[in-house]
């Protein structure tokens, strides 16, 4: 781990202060803003961990819903037998193991097969859980706890900080360097001595674990867990769109995508309740056409044009 430069220290302090300010949201803002805050925190965690993997490797994973759903069920089932704080690490481990298995099975495949495999994964896991539910006779699971929106918000904020820290550490580690090389040219990476499959699988475990933990955190919010709501493919696509809107080039890229998208979603839901789906579709199209590189690309281009020196 190369030593921390002055700039690194400055960034760390800035991030810590920003997190401190956002943590006070429950007191400064009303319940409605808090619920939006929870949504933003959730998507930030999911999109950032997603782009940790897809940024360098250019693999589009649509498996977020599968890991998230498993996470909600870990809390749903576990809450009756285990103390709550043990459920998050358990969900993380299960998510990581699942991601490793998926990685082992599919990362040899070319891009589009990986995408479809991960899309099918959520459906596959949903069928298995429904069948399991059917055999064991358990129906929808009730998660009746005293956990409120504020607790959920803080947990997500903590997880977001963890994900950024992890992303920052990986970026500076051998694994991060290896992934940047793989992203540029996988053949060169292999011939430089990098076990590309192992690196990708290791990295895919990060979004796997993080999405599962997020699911476990949000389960108490939904009170009633059933397969069709926990595994909806919609979540996977939203995470991809927001990450791409923000831009996967930088660690803070997805955040820059999540915030405007959430408020856009709100604005559309509020002003066009009957045409929400129609207009969201139009927004997706606009994002894909006008912002191929996302806001990060936009900001970098602007910076180049202004000829601003110094490092981002």
């Amino acid at each position: 781990m190369s030593r921390l430069s002055a700039r690194d220290w400055r960034n760390l302090v800035l991030v810590a202060m920003a997190l401190g300010v956002t943590a006070c949201l429950p007191w400064t803002a009303g319940a409605y803003m808090l619920s939006i805050g929870v949504t933003i925190a959730m998507y930030t965690v999911l999109a950032t961990s997603w782009s940790l993997f897809s940024g360098p490797t250019h693999y589009i994973s649509l498996a977020t819903a599968a890991f998230f759903g498993v996470g909600t069920y870990v809390t749903g089932i576990g809450i009756q037998y285990l103390p709550y704080w043990t459920l998050l690490p358990i969900a993380g481990i299960i998510g990581a193991v699942m991601a490793a298995l998926v990685g082992l099975a599919t990362l040899r495949l070319s891009g589009v097969y990986f995408v479809i495999f991960t899309l099918g994964l959520a459906e596959f896991v949903r069928q298995i859980i429904t069948w399991g539910q059917n055999i064991s006779g358990t129906k929808g699971i009730y998660v009746l706890t005293s956990i409120g929106e504020t607790h959920i918000y803080w947990q997500l904020l903590g997880l977001a900080a963890l994900v950024w820290l992890l992303g920052w550490l990986i970026g500076r580690s051998r694994l991060g360097f290896a992934l940047r090389i793989i992203g540029d040219d996988e053949a060169v990476a292999r011939h430089s001595g990098i076990d590309t499959a192992r690196a990708k699988i290791l990295l895919f475990m990060v979004p796997g674990a993080v999405a599962a933990i997020t699911g476990a955190i949000l389960a108490p919010r939904y009170v009633y867990i059933e397969p069709s709501l926990a595994f909806s493919p919609m979540l996977s696509f939203q995470v991809v769109i927001m990450a791409l809107l923000g831009g996967t080039g930088r660690l803070w890229g997805p955040l820059v995508g999540v915030i405007p998208f959430t408020f856009l979603w709100e604005a559309i839901s509020v002003s066009f309740p009957n045409q929400t789906t129609l207009l969201l579709g139009v927004c997706f199209l606009v994002i894909v056409y006008l912002l191929p590189k996302g806001f990060v690309g936009l900001i970098d281009a602007a910076k180049k044009r202004m000829g601003a020196e110094g490092y981002a």
């Binding site: 190369s2 360097f177 992203g183 040219d185 060169v188 990476a189 292999r190 011939h191 430089s192 001595g193």
Partner: protein
Amino acid sequence: MSALLSLRGVTKRFGGLVAVNAMDFDVAEHQVLGLIGPNGSGKSTTLNLISGAFPVSSGSISLRGQPITQLPAQDITRRGIARTFQLVRLLPSMTVLDNVKAGAVFGHRRRWGREAETIAEAMLEKTGLSGRGHMMVGQLTYIDTKRVELARVLAGEPRVVLLDEWLAGLNPTELQEGIRLIRSLRDDGRTIILVEHVMDAIRSLCDRCVVMAAGTKIAEGTPTEVLSDATVIRAYLGDDDA
């Protein structure tokens, strides 16, 4: 002296086509071996078999007596065989220094942090790129990109260096500079396998040569021996004026 690298009956089939047919040869420590032959004779394919880019159909390759035939490319590189590519392949999103560091961090001698930095800078010196570590690879001239690739290979301190037509495409002055560079590697005692068409490089650099035609070995020996051998000339220049 025992062979550092030896090929026994190495064959490669692409469906019906036999690209390499039962190749046998050895490379001794500190030896510079030239692998020559007309286009399509299987030179590059043999190099790809040694470096693990293609899986071997049959036969065996061993390094210091240990078989490396079925190993994936990354393990072969880690065991100490590093290669350049026929068409230069660099990492576009990174600086020259980082490109070279890639070899230092993941190659035969795995370094990290300060150590990797020093080795990378040393290799930049060695290949004549000193002071250009911070430049982006997109800004380099053609020969400089070749230097970066060579520096990356050397940064891993490999046992055997595979140069796949490294001198191809250089103008006369760059060619002399290139040959001088490879000779300096030779003088350092590095073991090199050279796939080349540039004959005066072969003559001045190689201790031994293996000549291939249509996937098989047709001659082996010192450069002067093989280049005066009738079958080699016929293979290169075709039958009519032999």
